[in-house]
């Protein structure tokens, strides 16, 4: 992820530096200045196209051993951690590293869960949350036509994974749909709207976290780091999406840090994002410990894939 974006960012930086260094009467720079903008855009889309050939938006389910294979000549800590991971998790499904991987992982994982569990109550519940998000966006002053198409498309996807409908699809069809750009990008954008609305709705809560990431106001952060396609997701995005939709998410962290528990063996950290609505169910008196997320993601620095438990 970061490696791919590196050259683009560097290119931009270099060009603006050399632009300023030029003598003031050099009119040729006009063409050059234009060339730079187009060049950056072209380079970016070329990288995306290249990446697209390598990994589909959502790949096939692979056993965890395939993950280990990629690190065979690499860090022993990582290999050790993958072994630990193997005690609880069976498989991984890779997603494309284009900055939208968290949202694409969440999309597939959620729809696959509904398809397999046939949990109509969950579908009804999330529809209520989606309706709240729609109202929130209107309250925040977004024009309906900017977000409506994305909402409609996600609701269609949701309907299609419930059987008995005319539009019901199989697991194979879900994979095909999730690899279709006109579906996947629309759903990513739907999640970006939902995330942005939740962050702005609870601006006071999110402000300190946003300040920890950038120097921007909450609104600026949403405009520059949540709403544009390809902007990577951080814990702020995950918290907001999980809260807004009321869906718990587990993120398992696979990195080089050796967090040994004093016994000399490595352990793998994870964090469960439990939505506020679930964690504080009010009169019901449920406890947080009872909640086990059905969405499990593997985080390696800069990228999210889908994990499957044993």
């Amino acid at each position: 992820m970061q490696n791919q974006e590196g050259p683009v960012a560097d290119g931009e930086k270099e060009s603006s530096e050399s632009l300023q260094a030029l003598p003031p009467n050099e009119f040729e720079i006009e063409d050059w200045a234009n060339f730079v903008d187009d060049d950056v855009m072209q380079q970016q889309s070329a990288i995306h196209a290249e990446e697209a050939k390598k990994v589909p938006f959502v790949g096939d389910k692979e056993p965890l051993s395939m993950l280990a294979a990629g690190y065979e000549s690499g860090s022993p800590i990582l290999l050790e951690k993958i072994k630990v991971l193997g005690q609880q998790y069976a498989a991984i499904r890779r997603t494309r590293g284009d900055g939208n991987c968290f949202f694409r992982s969440f999309m597939f994982s959620y729809l696959e869960h509904i398809l397999e569990s046939q949990d109509q109550a969950e579908v009804d519940r999330i529809k209520g949350n989606i309706e709240e998000c729609r109202k929130m966006l209107q309250t925040l002053g977004y024009a309906d036509f900017t977000f409506e198409d994305f909402f409609v498309l996600f609701l269609e996807q949701l309907e299609s994974v419930i059987p008995g409908n005319e539009t019901s699809i199989s697991h194979d069809e879900l994979i095909i749909q999730s690899q279709d750009q006109s579906v996947s990008d629309y759903v990513v954008m739907f999640f970006r709207f939902v995330t942005s609305a939740e962050i702005q709705k609870r601006a006071e809560f999110f402000e300190p976290f946003v300040l920890g990431l950038t120097n921007a106001s909450v609104e600026q952060f949403c405009k520059s780091s949540v709403e544009p396609m390809g902007e990577e997701s951080d814990h702020v995005h995950i918290t907001a999406l999980s809260d807004a939709l009321g869906v718990p998410i587990r993120v398992v962290y696979l990195d080089r840090s050796s967090c040994d528990s004093g016994t000399g063996s490595v352990s793998v950290n994870h964090h469960d994002f439990i939505p506020t609505s679930v964690a504080n169910p009010g009169a019901k008196g449920d406890t947080t410990e009872a909640i086990k997320p059905f969405i499990m993601l593997l985080y390696r620095p800069g990228h999210y894939d889908i994990l499957y438990p044993k």
Binding site: S16, L19, Q20, L22, P24, N25, E26, F27, I29, E30, A33, N34, D37, V40, M41, Q44, Y142, A143, F145, T146, F147, D149, F150, D185, M189, R192, F193, S196, K223, S224, E227, P228, M229, G230
Partner: protein, 194 residues
């Protein structure tokens, strides 16, 4: 494929509050991929009183990809090319999002006219002038607005030519025209009475 249904909705939305915003978007032809935007120069800037035309081309990926926009009206501004009209604005590049619209993009361009960012220039010559000799920058920007961005400035050369043919000195004709905001009849009245 451009999402034309959405573009239609955007055009409706835009025409609804045109009176208040002064911002216009209209299709060049039946094909909605090519449009023309118009923004009024912000009050209190050297662009005040001008009406700036912006050429808009929608790429196939719109609204996932940003609209391509450039100034048709010549404008003197650090972030706009004085030669090609190319605009340096983040939301027209990597900061674009489908949450934005043609109208919000034009509003951002209008805001850019109010608040130039000479440290991130599109036109290095203008940016240098802005930083080193602000008064001259303001003068040039205002002159360009007068010359290129006012309806009355259209055909100014023809007006000059006609008045010169009546026997007035060219420099006097030009200064008089400028003083009356380009109105040929008023200029003639003034020239005759002086």
């Amino acid at each position: 494929m451009v999402d034309f249904a959405r573009v239609q909705k955007e055009l409706q939305e835009c025409s609804r509050d045109m009176e208040a915003s002064g911002i216009r978007v209209s299709p060049k032809s039946d094909n909605l991929a090519g449009l023309t935007g118009t923004i009024p120069g912000p009050i209190g800037t050297p662009y005040e009183g001008g009406s700036f035309e912006i050429d808009i081309t929608l790429p196939d990926g719109y609204p996932f990809e940003p609209p391509r926009m450039k100034f048709v009206t010549k404008v003197w501004h650090p972030n706009i090319s004085s030669q090609s009209g190319a605009i340096c604005l983040d939301i027209l590049k990597d900061q674009w999002s489908p949450a934005l619209t043609l109208k919000t993009a034009l509003v951002s361009i209008q805001a850019l006219l109010s608040a130039p960012e000479p440290d991130d220039p599109q036109d290095a010559v203008v940016a240098q002038q802005y930083l080193r000799d602000y008064q001259t920058f303001v003068g040039t920007a205002r002159y360009w607005t007068e010359s290129f961005a006012k309806a009355s400035s259209l055909g100014v050369e023809e007006k000059v030519q006609r008045l010169v043919e009546m026997g007035f000195a060219e420099s006097l004709v030009r200064s008089t025209l400028e003083a009356v905001g380009g109105d040929e009849n008023l200029a003639l009245e003034r020239l005759c009475s002086s």
